[in-house]
C-alpha cells in the first residue's frame, strides 16, 4: 500500500529524515514510536504534502502512485488522510460548510456526484453520534473554542466521513483524557478494514493498548532503526529510548 524508499528531507538546511525506508501493507496498523525530534511529525507532513519541507531524495508511493508529485488535495483524493497533532482553528468557516466542501471536493476528484444536503447531514450526524460529539460542536466555526479532546474527535469524524485508504494519526493521543482516548480509539478501530492501512505515530505505549498495532517501528535520527511486533512497544515503555540514543553516540 504505502512504500517509502530512502527518503531524505530537510527544512531550512536542517536534515530531518535520513534515508528512511518504510512499508505499510493493506489492512495493516503500523505504529511509529520514537523520542522527541526523531522526525515522526516531519514524516507525517511530508506524506500529506506540506510545502515547508524539501525532499532531497527518495520516493513515497501509495498504491504505486508517486505522492511527491501530487498537491496535498490530490493526495487526499488518492486516499491519504492526516489526523493533525494540532488541528487548526479556522474562524469564520462553519464546521458543516467545511465538511461538505471537503467531502464534495474529494468526490469530485474521484469523478463521483456531489452528495445531497440531506444525505450529507445524515452521514455527519451518524458519525458524530458514534464519537459522542455534542451536536452544537457541528454548528460552530471549525475547531474554534474546541477543547483539545474535541479537536481530536473532529479529526476522527473527518476521517470517518472521508473514508481514506491510508490514515496517519500524528500523536492523536496527546492532550486526551482517558475517556476521550477510549472514544477516539474506538472511532479508529471502527474504521479498521482489510482495505485500509494506518500509520499511528505516538510517544507512548498507552494509545497502543487501545489501537493494537500489527507492527511497531522505532524511529531515531530520521530513520527507522528497529521493527518488531506489538511487544516492541511494551519493551520501549519499560526501557525508554536510551538504548537507541547510546547506539547513536557510539
Amino acid at each position: 500500500m504505502l512504500e517509502i524508499k530512502n527518503l531524505v528531507v530537510q527544512i531550512e538546511d536542517k536534515r530531518i529524515l535520513n534515508g528512511l525506508d518504510l512499508t505499510v501493507n493493506k489492512g495493516e496498523v503500523a505504529a511509529i514510536m520514537g523520542p522527541n525530534g526523531s522526525g515522526k511529525s516531519t514524516l507525517s507532513y511530508v506524506i500529506a504534502g506540506k510545502e515547508d519541507y524539501e525532499v532531497l531524495d527518495g520516493e513515497i508511493l501509495l498504491d504505486g502512485q508517486n505522492l511527491l508529485e501530487m498537491e496535498p488535495d490530490q493526495r487526499a483524493a488518492a486516499g491519504v488522510f492526516l489526523a493533525f497533532q494540532y488541528p487548526l482553528e479556522i474562524p469564520g468557516v462553519g464546521t458543516m460548510t467545511f465538511l461538505k466542501a471537503a467531502l464534495n471536493a474529494q468526490r469530485k476528484a474521484r469523478g463521483q456526484d456531489e452528495l445531497s444536503t440531506p444525505d450529507f447531514i445524515k452521514q455527519v450526524n451518524a458519525a458524530a453520534a458514534k464519537l459522542e460529539m455534542p451536536k452544537d460542536m457541528l454548528k460552530r466555526a471549525l475547531n474554534v473554542g474546541f477543547s483539545g479532546g474535541e479537536k481530536k474527535r473532529m479529526e476522527i469524524l473527518q476521517m470517518a466521513l472521508l473514508q481514506p485508504s491510508f490514515c496517519i494519526l500524528d500523536e492523536t493521543d496527546s492532550g486526551l483524557d482517558i475517556d476521550a482516548l477510549r472514544i477516539v480509539s474506538e472511532g479508529v478501530n471502527a474504521l479498521r478494514s482489510p482495505d485500509r492501512a494506518f500509520l499511528v505515530i505516538t510517544h507512548y505505549q498507552r494509545l497502543l493498548n487501545h489501537i493494537v498495532p500489527d507492527t511497531v517501528h522505532v524511529m531515531h535520527g530520521g530513520r527507522i532503526v528497529r521493527t518488531g511486533g506489538k511487544e516492541l512497544a511494551l519493551e520501549l515503555e519499560a526501557n525508554g529510548y536510551a538504548d537507541y540514543r547510546e547506539s547513536e553516540a557510539a
Binding site: K50, E51, A77, G92, A101, A102
Partner: protein, 437 residues
C-alpha cells in the same frame, strides 16, 4: 497685495466651465451652490500633498471631467432598471435613480409603506421645501472637496422621512447606464424620527467599459432611540470613478449600523462622517472590499463622539488581488465632554498576490480622560498552515483560498440583520471569488 492666479489643471478648468454653464439651470438656491463651488475652486482638486488625500490623489486620478448626465427618457430609465441586479431577491420599496436622476414614475407615492414619506429633491429645491434646512447635518463635511462638488452640482435626489417602525426595507437603487461617460451628483437626505426604525439598502451599478463619474452624498439624521440599518453595495462598472459620502448625525440611545461593500469601480472613495450627538448610542460602521486588477479603493472615516457613553465599532476588511490598492483612513474624535466613550476601530487587509498594496491610517484624537479607545491595523497573506489543513482534506488550493477569504470578509458582513440582504452580499463575495478562480 499682488494678484495670485492659481494654475488650474484641465480637469479643474472643465469643472469651472461645467459649473458656469450649469449653475443657472440647476434647481434651487444658486447662491449656496456658488459658495460651495467657490470653496472647492479655492483649493482645487485635492492631491497627494493634502493629508486626507495622500493615498487617493484626485488631481492625478481625475484627468478628464465627463459631462453631467441629462435626465433619461422613460424608456431609457426602464431599460436601465431592467438590467439592474443589485439586491434583486430582497423585497423592498424601490427608490430608483438612473443616470443620477430620480425615476419618480417608479414610485407609487399614494401607496408608500406606513411611516415613509418621500419628497423628490429637484422639486424641493425649486420650491424651497422646509426639509432643505436639514441638509448638511454634519457641518464639517462641507470642508471636504468631494462634498463641495456634490453641493455645487447636485441635480437630483430624494428626501425621505421615516416615522415609526418601518418593516419594509427602502432600496435606493442607483444605475448609470448612459452610452458614453457621464458625471452625476445626487443627494439623498433621510430623516429618521425619534423611536423610528428602518433598513436602508443602497446599491450603485454602472455599465462596464465606460468612465462614469458618480459623486453621491447620503445624509442621515437619526433621532433618539432610532434604529437604522444601512447596507451599501458598490457594484459599479470596471471603468467607473465613484466618489461617495455618507454623513450622519445620530441622537441618543440609538442604534446605527452601516456597511459598505466594494465589489466594483476602477477607483472609488467612500467617506463616512458620523457625529454621535446623544448619550448611550451605538454605532457600527463596517467595510468589506474586494479589489483586483488595478482597482483602487479608499475608505475614509471620521467618527466624532459628541456625547457621553457612546460606543462605536468600526471593522474594515479589504481583500487585494493582483496589483490593486486599498486605502483605509479612520479617525475617532473624542472631545473632552464625551467621557465614557468606548471606541474600537480595526482595519485588516489580506493580500492575495505579490503586487498589491494597502495603506492603513488609523487615528485617535482624544481629549477626554475617561474613555476606552483602541485601533488596530493588519496586513497579511493567507495563512499557509490553514491552507495546508484545508488542502489536506481535499480542497484544491483555489477553493481553500476562497473559503478563507469568505471567512475573512464574513466577519464584516455577518452583522447585517436583513437576511436576504446579507445573503446577497455573501453571493457577491462568492461571485467575486469565482471570477478569480
Amino acid at each position: 497685495m499682488a494678484d495670485v492666479t492659481l494654475m488650474k489643471t484641465p480637469a479643474e478648468s472643465a469643472l469651472a466651465q461645467a459649473f458656469e454653464s450649469a449653475k443657472n439651470m440647476l434647481p434651487g438656491n444658486a447662491e449656496s451652490r456658488a459658495q460651495a463651488f467657490e470653496q472647492f475652486s479655492s483649493r482645487g482638486l485635492p492631491h497627494r500633498r493634502v493629508e486626507e488625500f495622500k493615498y487617493t490623489d484626485l488631481r492625478a486620478l481625475l484627468r478628464e471631467i465627463a459631462p453631467f448626465a441629462n435626465v433619461p427618457s422613460a424608456e431609457e430609465a426602464k431599460a436601465a432598471l431592467r438590467e439592474s441586479k443589485a439586491f434583486a431577491d430582497v423585497s423592498a420599496l424601490q427608490v430608483p435613480f438612473v443616470n443620477g436622476h430620480f425615476v419618480r414614475e417608479a414610485v407609487d407615492f399614494h401607496n408608500l409603506p406606513e411611516g415613509i414619506e418621500i419628497v423628490p429633491l429637484r422639486e424641493a429645491l425649486a420650491n424651497g421645501h422646509e426639509w432643505l434646512a436639514k441638509l448638511s447635518p454634519v457641518t464639517w463635511a462641507s470642508d471636504n472637496p468631494i462634498y463641495q462638488l456634490n453641493t455645487s452640482f447636485m441635480a437630483d435626489g430624494v428626501m425621505i422621512r421615516v416615522a415609526g417602525a418601518v418593516e419594509t426595507p427602502v432600496h435606493l437603487r442607483f444605475v448609470t447606464a448612459a452610452g458614453s461617460a457621464v458625471a452625476t451628483a445626487t443627494r439623498v437626505l433621510v430623516v429618521v424620527e425619534d423611536d423610528a426604525s428602518v433598513t436602508l439598502l443602497e446599491s450603485h451599478e454602472s455599465t462596464d467599459g465606460t468612465n462614469h463619474q458618480p459623486n453621491d452624498v447620503m445624509e442621515m439624521i437619526a433621532g433618539d432611540r432610532s434604529n437604522v440599518q444601512h447596507v451599501r453595495l458598490n457594484a459599479e462598472g470596471d471603468k467607473t470613478l465613484a466618489l461617495s459620502t455618507l454623513a450622519m448625525k445620530i441622537g441618543g440611545e440609538a442604534t446605527f449600523n452601516s456597511i459598505n461593500v466594494v465589489a466594483g469601480a476602477a477607483t472609488s472613495r467612500h467617506q463616512v462622517y458620523a457625529i454621535l450627538d446623544g448619550e448611550n448610542t451605538n454605532l457600527r460602521v463596517n467595510g468589506a472590499s474586494m479589489l483586483k486588477g488595478s482597482q483602487h479603493s479608499d475608505s475614509t472615516l471620521v467618527v466624532e463622539h459628541n456625547a457621553l457613553h457612546c460606543e462605536s465599532r468600526e471593522l474594515f476588511k479589504t481583500v487585494i488581488d493582483n496589483e490593486a490598492t486599498g486605502v483605509f483612513q479612520g479617525k475617532i474624535i473624542v472631545p473632552h465632554h464625551a467621557q465614557k466613550t468606548d471606541g474600537r476601530m480595526m482595519s485588516a487587509a489580506l493580500l492575495l498576490a505579490e503586487g498589491g498594496s494597502m495603506n492603513n491610517k488609523p487615528e485617535l484624537e482624544i481629549f477626554a480622560d475617561d474613555v476606552q479607545c483602541a485601533h488596530g491595523a493588519t496586513c497579511g497573506q493567507l495563512d499557509e498552515d490553514l491552507l495546508f489543513y484545508l488542502m489536506a482534506r481535499g480542497l484544491p488550493k483555489k477553493d481553500a483560498e476562497s473559503l478563507l477569504v469568505q471567512a475573512f470578509l464574513g466577519e464584516a458582513i455577518e452583522f447585517v440583520e436583513n437576511e436576504s440582504a446579507r445573503e446577497a452580499l455573501v453571493t457577491t463575495v462568492e461571485s467575486w471569488l469565482k471570477a478569480r478562480a
